[in-house]
């Protein structure tokens, strides 16, 4: 489904991704781990088409189509979804309105009819229950005054509503209490399906107890330096990144920002 070849990207003239190679097939769940500042969020943002990052080399295809040629919104409509590490607030725009606009943009793209307010309300209420968010959150401004955990649940709610082909989850588990972690994991597991791939960035192997990945990759210094199965995460937890021979200053250097 997604194929990344020798991807290089930089921001403000500084190279962050230094040759990423990754193949993700439909139905698979891939976890990306790695030290702070190693480029995990950058990879997520580049895939979603954030123009703050410049792709300098390499190629990315989604089901054979060149992804890098598409605008952000076109990628979204092709089924790329990014759950943000730091969801931004849009004051005054109700969550409900925002979500309906998004869902209808996708539907229009697929040649389906738009959902009216009442239909959408019903759907949104169901999905908000699924992530244990009170329906009152639908009326509030997008992420406006949401707690960290609420924002993360709101992101998963969006994924559930938009039913993407590739869901990229950037640290959707951080900042969650134990119950919320369960709720979010259930949400992600509900997304798992034969024709959908999930790429999740995490620091904690405990998440992987809930959402069992098919592959685990370690991203360091802008490259994937090791890939393995589920057991790699356990090994990392035990031994830390030092075990993989990541130089201390490299980590410190890229994290110092």
């Amino acid at each position: 489904m997604l194929s990344i070849k020798n991807l290089h990207a930089s921001v403000e003239g500084k190279e962050i991704l230094k040759g990423i190679n990754l193949e993700i097939k439909a139905g698979e769940v891939h976890a990306i781990m790695g030290p702070n500042g190693s480029g995990k969020s950058t990879l997520s943002q580049v895939l979603a088409g954030n123009e703050a990052f410049e792709v300098t080399e390499g190629e990315v295809t989604l089901n054979g189509e060149n992804l890098l040629d598409l605008e952000t919104e076109e990628r979204a409509r092709e089924g790329i979804f990014l759950a943000f590490q730091y969801p931004v607030e849009i004051p005054g725009v109700s969550n409900l309105q925002f979500l309906r606009t998004a869902v209808n943009a996708m539907r229009t793209h697929r040649g389906e009819e738009e959902m009216n307010a009442a239909e959408f309300m019903k759907l949104a209420k169901e999905v908000s229950k699924q992530v244990d968010l009170d329906p009152s959150f639908l009326k509030r401004g997008v992420n406006e005054g949401f707690s960290g955990g609420e924002k993360k649940r709101n992101e998963i709610m969006q994924a559930l509503l938009l039913q993407p082909k590739l869901a990229i989850l950037d640290e959707t588990d951080s900042g969650l209490d134990i119950d919320a972690l369960k709720v979010v994991s259930d949400g992600v597991n509900a997304l798992r399906s034969e024709d959908r791939a999930i790429l999740m960035v995490t620091h904690y192997q405990r998440l992987l107890n809930h959402i069992v990945p098919d592959y685990v990759h370690v991203l360091a210094g802008g490259k994937i330096i090791k890939s393995g199965g589920r057991e790699l995460a356990l090994e990392l937890e035990e031994k830390g990144y030092g075990w993989l021979g990541i130089k201390d200053e490299e980590t410190a250097d890229s994290a110092a920002n």
């Binding site: 123009e51 703050a52 979204a76 004051p91 005054g92 938009l162």
Partner: protein
Amino acid sequence: MATTDKEVNELIKREYEHGFVTEIEADTFEPGLNEDVIARLSAIKKEPEWMLEWRLKAYRRWLEMEEPDWAHVGYPKIDYNSISYYSAPKRKEDMPQSLDEVDPELLKTYEKLGIPLHEREKLAGVAVDAVFDSVSVATTFKEPLAKAGVIFCSISEAVRDYPELVQKYLGTVVPHGDNFFAGLNSAVFSDGTFVYVPKGVRCPMELSTYFRINAANTGQFERTLIIADEGSYVSYLEGCTAPMRDENQLHAAVVELVALDDAQIKYSTVQNWYPGDENGKGGIYNFVTKRGACIGKNSKISWTQVETGSAVTWKYPSCVLRGENSVGEFYSVALTHNYQQADTGTKMIHLGKNTRSTIISKGISAGKSSNAYRGLVKFGPGAEGARNFTQCDSLLIGDRCGAHTFPYIESKNKSAIVEHEATTSKVSDEQMFLCRQRGIDPEQAVSMIVNGFCKEVFKELPMEFAVEAGKLLEVSLEGSVG
């Protein structure tokens, strides 16, 4: 690099929907202004002697006045002798008595503008007075209003039919010498709306006036006077458009509101005069004086405005809070794009005890436009226990536009309290990225974010208008992202 900035900076196209010209035979004065012109104008309108005297007095006063240059706007000097002071669609006799007598071309114009005047099509429950260039062409729902005792007619009719009311209140809120443009208006005002709501009457429907400038090189100088007698209530809406023309056109209106004891006036405006093209050519100069006097105790006047049009806007709807416990409110959304300039705000003059005022101003700037809020909150010595709350928020789209806030506070009473909040924000790259990541078009995203920003003001508008205002913002922002 930064996504939206780049795109937003490619701001360009913008379509003005109402830019067509109506081909209609018109009686139009030669350009120029002198006492003869005023006398002719007054004669055409069959005005009584006192009205002409009033105009001439204003004119003489105006000749001595200087055009203000302190507003945060720039425009070439206006030659007041190059403007025509009267233009009216030609018709056989007098004012049309019913819609059937209105020229079908005109009816079509209003239909095209979404203001169907015809009985069968008219906006549900909204009475409309349509002003075309210098004259009122039709007023709807006259009968049910008359039954309630509400007078709703053109000011020209009121001058003839209700001279006592007009004489008693005209110029009491905005006197001749108030400012340059008000002085000019007093001398040459052409038409406008008159409303009188009698004691204890709650006006049974929304009243609205729709102003349309059509003729070239004419100025529109409308005059509106609304009087809410004791314990009455009225909600009044005003909408405006003009054709696209390369020359600038002047619009200098005066609106006076008077609220007696326990009366309430809600005045809403959606102003969408032609703003000029993307290079700043053409557009309306909108220099307006709007003021309400809460002369009675417990009276209330609220101004709600959505200003998206005009090349240059200079407008400060104000409240003079004379009556004890009277309340003044000002809710404003002002959007500027391309080369538009807006200098708008309000004045809240607290004279009576325990008077209260609220100011919520939302300024949105896009393109190379400039948007200024100018507000004065003044407390006289008698304004014991008076309070004001002011909130001024600015939203910038792109990085070539400007927002300025000039709040002035003058207090002669120590017990008066003012709270002031101000914020400036941008439609951020992160917000745009979030929207686009969810599949939303950049233009729709900007419009959604801007609508969110204006929410507090939109909720003050009557329902049908709120929807219209939201759509208008969308149209006005067209081309604000690449």
